[in-house]
């Protein structure tokens, strides 16, 4: 996964920014969108020259379908202020639906004429060749999209590709009438137009459903917020969540998140936190089209430290102990609160690891210990809790040492 990563210096705090890659996701999306718009133009020409209701219906179906790749691409807009993206998407979707309905209506009118007065179809080449081109190209556009977009975004690429693939059905239903009419039975062009009419209505309903999804998502914003906040808070060294914006765009979700981590973390560690946040969001929030995460480092006012205890007032030789001191300290080393907890293990093969996990659940940011088993160390590091190796047995000395080192 290559991300657009940048560290921008902003007022003294280092900022890491990562967002969905333009090269990996945006470019294929734009390519497919343009290809699809090209197909629409071809169909406009075909409808104009062949005058068959079938192609009017196919055209309206294609326009309804366009709402999905278009909203997907717009949600990829790179400017800041994602809030605007969803409004633009809403308006364009409504506009497209309107246009589609107008064409549909015109198609119904011409169908009525074709049934009651005379068949309208002419210039068969347009009515036959262009649907075939449509079938082939929309199929390959959809396949291309699913192949090119990285696996991580499969829900997104599949949602767009599935809709784009609808172009195949639109053209397939539209070609039957003209094909039969080609052999002389001109009336059948109108009879079979009902098929393409039905399909166009199906696609209209799908586009309307997309708008409904948006309002459903909008209603749930609070619970999305809660969910992500809880998930981020499982990492003790994420100290402040500054901004969480969920912007529903049709069936997609644009997510923007800004949070602060303890300044004593190393840059590689922060990088991993961001990767985790990105992956978590993409996999747990429905169909995410675009994510952007900004992380700053921030001074921690209350640092939560854990130390393994021996006899209640000395530091244990090894990380694995039955009692731990969890203290909140100020940056100058002053202890504001103390708590002693007992931890027991259930799995004798994973003793240190279990205790590490428990400490992380208690939101411990730093662990001070003289010795620690490899697995437990990896578990603590895995949750981005910093480990300080101590030489002293004395509690106060240890805490002072930690406060000075950060």
């Amino acid at each position: 996964m290559r991300w657009l990563a940048g560290s921008m210096s902003r007022g003294g705090c280092m900022v890491i920014v990562k967002e969905t890659s333009y090269n990996e996701v945006g470019k294929p999306l734009i390519f497919v969108l343009l290809g699809y718009i090209g197909i629409i133009f071809l169909n406009i020409i075909a409808a104009y020259y062949s005058r068959t209701p079938n192609l009017y219906f196919a055209l309206s179906a294609l326009i309804f379908i366009l709402t999905t790749p278009l909203s997907a691409t717009i949600s990829f807009k790179r400017a800041m202020g994602r809030k605007k993206a969803s409004t633009i998407i809403l308006y364009t979707t409504l506009l497209l639906i309107l246009v589609g309905i107008l064409i549909l209506a015109y198609g119904i009118y011409s169908l009525w004429i074709a049934l009651t007065i005379r068949p309208l179809i002419r210039n068969f080449e347009f009515a036959l060749i262009i649907p075939i081109i449509t079938i082939i190209i929309t199929y390959f556009l959809a396949e291309y999209l699913e192949k090119k977009i990285p696996e991580l975004y499969w829900r997104f690429s599949r949602a767009v590709a599935d809709r784009v693939r609808g172009g195949v059905s639109a053209a397939a239903t539209a070609i039957i009438g003209p094909a039969i009419a080609f052999f002389g039975l001109l009336n059948f062009d109108a009879y079979f137009a009902f098929l393409s009419l039905i399909y166009a209505i199906i696609e209209m309903k799908r586009s309307l459903d997309e708008i409904r999804t948006t309002s459903k998502l909008k209603k749930n914003l609070d619970s999305l917020n809660e969910h992500l906040t809880k998930a981020l808070r499982t990492i003790p060294n994420i100290i402040k969540i500054e901004d969480l914006i969920f912007d529903p765009a049709n069936q997609f979700l644009i997510v923007y998140s800004k949070f602060a981590v303890s300044e004593f973390l190393d840059d590689e560690v922060i990088d991993k936190i961001v990767d985790y946040a990105l992956t978590y969001i993409i996999e747990n929030f429905g169909i995410v089209s675009f994510v952007r995460i900004e992380v700053d480092k921030s001074k921690v006012e209350k640092i939560r430290v854990a130390l393994p205890l021996k006899n209640g007032d000395e530091i244990n030789e090894d990380f694995n102990a039955s009692k731990y001191l969890i203290a909140e300290i100020l940056p100058n080393g002053e202890i504001i609160s103390k708590d002693i907890i007992e931890l027991r293990n259930t799995n004798d093969k994973m003793i240190g690891v279990e205790k590490a996990r428990e400490l992380v659940k208690k939101r411990v940011m730093i662990v001070g210990t003289k010795k620690i088993d490899e697995k437990a160390q990896r578990e603590l590091n895995g949750w981005f809790t910093k480990i300080f190796l101590l030489k002293t047995n004395n509690l106060e000395d240890a805490i002072k040492h930690i406060a000075k080192s950060i």
Partner: protein, 321 residues
């Protein structure tokens, strides 16, 4: 220089699944499996539903084509073998299936079933009757069984016939896919004992696939645990049971009902949660993440590689890397 009878490198098998509207999805039954089996060894392959162990057994014998990866048999690549060369390989590597009721042709007598392989491959076996009778004796059946039909035998006897059929080809390597799962406990014991004797007597190499850890431990020198298409741990049998490293292996071992009430009631209660997922569109990272009590953020981002941690013990878990 190595006595590896079988070696698999990054073997993958994806089954396409049709969705509506012409699009395809893939069931990643086996997703990058590497292992080896030494001559005379029995490698146990353990896993639950969706682990891919059965598919892997079939891939090894080239019963189904690979999506990618390489398989080496006695040092030579068999991945792309065709025609006569494939037939040569098939002579030397045989399979015994789980269900004796369906793996024997009900319209062929015992004699016909066992003689079929050598006949097709044009192997010279001397006097056919003597040949088959000798094989029957090897698997504990009697000469009078020669011209009987499968339905006249019990499950255990049918499985013996299936094993005799495999032995008729004078194989060096046998894949046993749940060979005793459909059999009663007492019958299972005699079949397993026989398999062990045959291995010692003929220097056979086995791949023993089963979901029953107790049976696998009894039969195997080394055991590999599979989870959703990947090998997550490999170690010697004793070592795996004494020192399971992967959280899934630990969960598996903790789930085995122990036939000893004293131990059973005092077993440490490792919390067993969830079910193995179905191998379509799995999330990123380690596949065991949703059920793992020690899961960390990196487990969600990247899949851990299978690494050697010493003592011939391999494990795929970020706790050890």
């Amino acid at each position: 220089m190595s006595n590896k009878v079988l070696e698999a490198k990054n073997v993958k098998k994806y089954f396409p699944v049709r969705r509506f509207l012409l699009s395809k999805d893939y069931v990643k039954a086996v997703d990058g499996v590497s292992f080896y089996i030494k001559k005379g060894e029995c490698l146990g392959l353990v896993g639950e539903s969706g682990s891919g162990k059965t598919t892997l057994g079939r891939l090894i014998l080239r019963l189904i084509p690979l999506t990618s990866g390489e398989i080496f048999y006695k040092g030579k690549s068999i991945t792309k073998l065709k025609g006569d060369e494939l037939k040569e390989f098939r002579k030397s590597a045989q399979m015994v299936f789980q269900d004796p009721y369906s793996s024997l042709d009900p319209r062929m007598t015992v004699f016909q079933t066992i003689i079929e392989g050598p006949r097709i491959h044009g192997i010279d076996i001397g006097n056919p009757e003597e040949f088959v009778i000798k094989l029957l004796e090897t698997v504990g059946l009697k000469p009078e069984h020669l011209y009987r039909y499968p339905h006249e035998f019990s499950g255990g006897q049918k499985q013996r016939i299936a094993i005799a059929r495999a032995l008729a080809m004078n194989p060096e390597f046998i894949v046993l896919d749940e060979p005793t799962s459909a059999l009663d406990v007492s019958v299972q014991a005699s079949i397993l004992n026989m398999l062990k004797e045959l291995q010692a007597k003929f220097g056979l190499t086995y791949l023993f696939i089963s979901h029953d850890l107790a049976v696998v431990k009894y039969m195997s020198h080394r055991i590999a645990t599979m989870y959703v298409g990947r090998i997550v741990e490999v170690a010697g049998s004793e070592e795996l049971f004494e020192n399971p490293l992967h959280p899934y292996t630990q969960m598996l071992l903790a789930s085995i009902p122990i036939p000893d009430p004293k131990i059973a009631k005092s077993k440490p209660k490792i919390k067993i949660t969830g079910e193995p997922p179905s191998p379509i569109r799995l999330p990123q990272g380690c596949k065991f993440y949703p059920r793992c009590p020690y899961a960390m953020p990196i487990c969600k981002i990247k899949e851990p590689p299978l690494i050697n941690v010493g003592n011939n013990h391999e494990v795929a878990c970020w706790l050890y890397e």
